[in-house]
């Protein structure tokens, strides 16, 4: 086999197999860091052997066999050195290893192991940044270089972040287990938050010249779908997936030819991806069949679905969207949600009602300097014919955003609003 062809095939196998591989190895070693080292060892062996031998028929099993052999070597060395050996149940591993049918039982449990790995990567003991990096690495199968590129960070920074995260987990002896009881919902919330953060960074980049980094969106979606398969009875997981599928369906319509953002009402809806919209609706169906009250992600997905159903911006059912935001405020009281609600009210009940809803948020501490508050006010004022005030708000919003593309858009809107005479509402230019 041609060496570079093999190398590329190995990258692909790694991306597909590494999460399951690391999950299985974490169960054996009770240490994510050790598990990842062993998986890397197996990858190195593949890089040495596959260019000669070709990719084996079952590459995942091949990698696991090599990694387990390395694990046993490693434990034997540690035992010889009389280091702490019972601590992580490693002796148990050696015993189990000898039992027939061991591989079969490993295969059966791999789904549970993968889910435990997801919970560990998103453990609240870690900072959000660390959870994101570790999740992309362990569950998404991304290389450190790929994560660094996606976050416009140096490879060294990301590598260090991952190493520290793994050390934190080891030192805290975070157990490799399925969280139960009250802990479970908090831990699940963290998993969903991490996936949503990853998606949002791709959907609406906080820094840099590009408005979107679609491959991050795809990574988040892929992991969301994996988690939904692992936890089919958790309604909010389907809610998150539904939300991401529908938002991702707009990717191709959200960016203009020169990379500039195109906002929802102005998007060419024929460019929305119907396959993803259908998948989003299917996920919504699934969560509705599970019953219970709608959680925050399910409600946001229901809002996204309202937009997806509207053939044109004018057909949008803003009254229903405003009602869904009311429900969302109940389960997720936040100024940002209130701001979004004000936008919906502005379209559903007119700009005056929208402005009234926004005014309530003007002195909200957490929204101070938040560019979307100024942008929403500017929009409502412009629609009320108060051009000069609108232009002022748009310029304020432009000064507050960190994204170049968005700044250009907002300055353009400031100019357009300023050109409208506030007394007559007519354009002063022909």
């Amino acid at each position: 086999m041609n060496e570079s062809v093999a190398g590329r095939a190995i990258d692909a196998v790694w991306r597909i197999e590494s999460p399951r591989l690391i999950a299985g190895l974490t169960r054996l070693t009770r240490d994510v860091g050790v598990a990842e080292d062993l998986a890397q060892d197996a990858l190195v062996a593949a890089l040495e052997q596959w260019p000669e031998s070709g990719v084996p028929a079952n590459p995942g099993a091949w990698l696991m066999a090599i990694a387990k052999r390395r694990a046993i070597d490693r434990f034997r060395r540690e035992e010889l050195g009389e280091r702490k050996r019972d601590e992580f149940g490693r002796v148990e591993l050696a015993r189990k290893e000898a039992e027939p049918g061991f591989d079969a039982s490993l295969e059966d449990d791999i789904g549970d192991d993968l889910l435990r790995l997801v919970f560990i990567a998103c453990h609240p003991i870690l900072s959000r940044q660390a959870r994101v990096a570790l999740t992309l690495r362990l569950i998404g199968g991304l290389t450190t270089a790929e994560i660094a590129r996606a976050y416009l960070a140096s490879e060294a920074t990301i590598a260090q972040r991952i190493v520290r995260a793994k050390r934190t987990l080891t030192e805290a002896r975070v157990p490799f287990e399925m969280p139960q009881g009250a802990d479970r919902s908090a831990r699940l919330a963290s998993v969903l938050e991490v996936l949503y953060l990853i998606f949002n960074e791709g959907y609406c980049a906080t820094a840099g010249d590009d408005w979107m980094r679609p491959s991050l969106c795809e990574d988040a979606l892929r992991m969301g779908r994996i988690v939904a398969e692992l936890m089919p009875r958790e309604a909010e997981v389907h809610g998150l997936v539904a939300l991401l599928e529908i938002q991702a369906s707009r990717t191709e319509a959200r960016v203009g030819r020169n990379g500039e953002p195109i906002l929802l009402p102005d998007q060419d809806r024929s460019r929305w991806n119907r396959v993803l919209i259908r998948r989003g609706f299917a996920a919504l169906d699934r969560l509705e069949r599970l019953g219970g009250t709608l959680g925050p992600y399910a409600l946001q997905a229901a809002i996204a679905a309202c937009h997806a159903r509207a053939g044109t911006a004018e057909e949008t059912d803003w009254v229903r969207i405003a009602a869904l935001y009311d429900a969302l405020l109940e389960v997720m009281p936040s100024p940002i949600v209130a701001l979004n609600r004000a936008v919906a009210v502005g379209f559903g009940y007119g700009p005056a009602a929208g402005l009234e809803a926004v005014e309530e948020l003007r002195f909200e501490k957490s929204l101070e300097g938040y560019y979307l508050l100024a942008s929403v006010r500017g929009d409502l004022l412009a629609r009320l014919g108060r051009g000069a005030e609108a232009a002022f708000e748009f310029r304020r919003a432009a000064a507050a955003t960190a994204n170049e593309r968005e700044r250009t858009l907002l300055l353009g809107r400031a100019k357009a609003a300023g050109d409208v005479d506030s007394a007559t509402g007519r354009s002063t230019r022909s």
Binding site: R8, R15, D219, Q247, E252, R257, L263, D266, V275, V376
Partner: protein, 143 residues
């Protein structure tokens, strides 16, 4: 990136109307489909009835003409497809290689064109660019 894996089963061109794969083959294929789903890469899939139940529309001389199947001269006949979303062409090829296909089957792996892949003139032809400075309305929720 999205890819279509186009399955071309050997001998499907001559298959009688209503031909179905046998239960064992379907069982194997379901396991494969499940693996694609569990990995979060599967977007859509479908199987197609044999060409003996279909027809072809050709346009010789600029006029549509219909020919009922089967098409004896055709070698590669599509029997179904998977649409997957993966990070690279190599990953798409790796997934195709894992399909429990028969020895006379072929899978063609093709990348799906995205609107943003089109050059500017094609994008213009596909639709006019919406007014950049028009009103707002989209406010992604983020904290």
């Amino acid at each position: 990136m999205r890819f279509m894996l186009l399955m071309m089963p050997g001998g499907y061109g001559e298959a009688a109307p209503g031909t179905m794969p046998d239960a064992a083959a379907v069982g194997e294929m379901m396991k494969y489909n499940e693996a694609l789903g569990k990995a979060g890469v599967l977007l859509a899939l479908d199987g197609l009835h044999p060409p003996s139940m279909g027809a072809r529309v050709s346009f010789a001389g600029g006029k549509a003409a219909i020919t009922d199947g089967p098409f004896s001269e055709a070698k590669e006949i599509i029997g179904g497809y998977w649409m997957i979303q993966v990070r690279s062409r190599d990953e798409a090829l790796e997934w195709a290689a894992r399909c429990p296909a028969g020895e006379h089957d072929t899978i063609e792996v093709r990348q799906v064109q995205e609107f943003s892949d089109f050059p500017p003139d094609v994008q213009s032809a596909a639709g006019s660019l919406p007014d950049l400075l028009a009103r707002t309305g989209e406010h992604p929720t983020r904290e």
